[in-house]
Symmetry: C2
Subunit: 383 residues, 2 copies
Amino acid sequence: MLDLISRGAAETRTDLARQTGMARSTVAQRVDALIGFGLVEETEPGESTGGRPPRLLRLNTAHNCVLGVDLGATHCRVALLDIGGKPLASCETPIQITQGPHEVLAHVDARMHELLTRANRPLESVKAIGIGVPGPVEFATGRPVNPPIMPGWHEYPIPDFFTSRYNVEVLVDNDVNVLALGERRFAYPGSAHLLFVKIGTGIGCGIVADGRLHRGAQGSAGDIGHIRVPDAPHAVCRCGNTGCLEAVAGGAALAARLSAAGTPARTGHDVVTLVNQGDAAALRLVREGGRVIGDVLAGLVNFFNPEAIVVGGVMAQVHEPLLAGMREVIYQRSLPLATHRLTVVPSRSGEEGGSLGAGRLAIDHILAPDYINRALSTGQGAA
Amino acid sequence: MLDLISRGAAETRTDLARQTGMARSTVAQRVDALIGFGLVEETEPGESTGGRPPRLLRLNTAHNCVLGVDLGATHCRVALLDIGGKPLASCETPIQITQGPHEVLAHVDARMHELLTRANRPLESVKAIGIGVPGPVEFATGRPVNPPIMPGWHEYPIPDFFTSRYNVEVLVDNDVNVLALGERRFAYPGSAHLLFVKIGTGIGCGIVADGRLHRGAQGSAGDIGHIRVPDAPHAVCRCGNTGCLEAVAGGAALAARLSAAGTPARTGHDVVTLVNQGDAAALRLVREGGRVIGDVLAGLVNFFNPEAIVVGGVMAQVHEPLLAGMREVIYQRSLPLATHRLTVVPSRSGEEGGSLGAGRLAIDHILAPDYINRALSTGQGAA
């Protein structure tokens, strides 16, 4: 019901009864409970059309909001959104993720308070918090698991830091999942099946299946950076294997190959700068990297049959040669039925994609039947 | 609610209210509707424990059943199941799928009537029909799409053949999806994420994500037979590309390589026979084929993070060397977190896997909220 209301698919109690097939009395009872709980409000329509006009239902966005946090190696972005998904305020500040959880999360907490003050919303209006971090996370507990670039964060229970201060649930996921969710909700709301491929120093993928994040059995789904690519037995990867995708086509790998060929470059950022300066070797290398990534994605297109592949991360700043290489191989190697309506495009959500996606993770949690049922049953118990 | 009842997770109205968080009056109303509609029944418990014992809810299996059909190139298996998933009767008969839809479906219809008679169930007790066919299908309409081994079936609306005779919904899917569903429901009920890999003449994969079939944007998900494998630029595939997985490691490809090396073999069946006779070249080839398939699956394990990979199809009859080759590469090339609890096993559902899976497709359709809401709203309208 809440999903129908939030999507604008049902505006009245009559709509809800028709669309859910539930009896009008059941709908009335549930709607009253949602209104009592404060998640939904019922308004008078703007003008009468003769007879008694129906009262319209909508999410109570004035009293319910969420916070979305995007933590990177050196940046912190926080966004305040109402539960309709509308951004109310946001900020970006530099951090060093290596300073560890206490210092970084205290910084995040201070930014959250600033945003609430700026948007004039009380602390109690925050109903959930979503956080994306640059490393693997056990989603059920919100603890990072051996995150390579986050020393001191292994098994740190991130939600605990906030639950005591905000008394709400805190959802923590890796940055690529959060980006996939944000991109899907804000740029491709009609896409049920989408892959978000982040190409930075490493390469990762966020998977949206049937409109929801697919995390897999251990939460490691989407870790495509270590899929073996052909003809690269000498590319040594930080994971201890050889021939991994990111050891051949990640930003750091491209930089190393440019350096070896006589053009100094240390990071993916350096490669992007060189391409933008018109360096032919860098351009060729990025396009060739796109082909190697395309070879892996071609297999995943056959396997998963997505509607869209969205490319983000530092290297997507030079998306023309990169995506040209990717498309070349995908359209050559994937099945016609699977590529026929497939789009391979650069990310549209931009720098705020991470914080908005993290906010969306929180909103989806609030609007899910489990949360509502739990909340309503508690509310009814108290009434 | 129906899902809780069917899984035995809720046995009384009180259980349902507790587990769904719905008000007792709402639960009562919905349960009465389900009983009125005939899908659920309420019984007296076996013995009193003092006070008034609660009445127990269960699926009305006596009056509700489904038919599951597994069509292969040369076989037809039909199973009658009650909506609890219990097989009531089944049969297997030879057919030639190349005889086209009219002849083959008339044969299926006759077998269905025989099973109903044998199990003493009236035609009206059949609530849905599930059918698996050996080729690609547009699931929404139940029409095969350019099925390579089914001449005359392209775009034939299979459901129409049965809806006029049975007045129920008919679900049609490809054989691998149906096998995946059957294997998951009957052998791995606790697995949310499972891949069923069928290795016969070709190679295909059924994907269960979060307990449900993942069909992808165009319904072509799982078509892994045409993923490119390394070092096989000369393997020409029936799809028009080169280096495809099934052109290297499918049953027909292995047979062709054995023949070329001097051991006559025409099909995957011949290769199985040779392995069972102790032919060393055939054994070596099957294991090597397993490694090639394992290389593709290693990438899919990183991407999808399944709990189980189940191997079926003709070649699974020699699963020892085949799975040894597959495991060798998967455990070498996939990420430790993703392989840590992964099982790679031969199919357990056996020859009846297809018809039971097709039956399960029908049951899942009946027990889904959409079906119930539609049915109840129609029922209420009529009352």
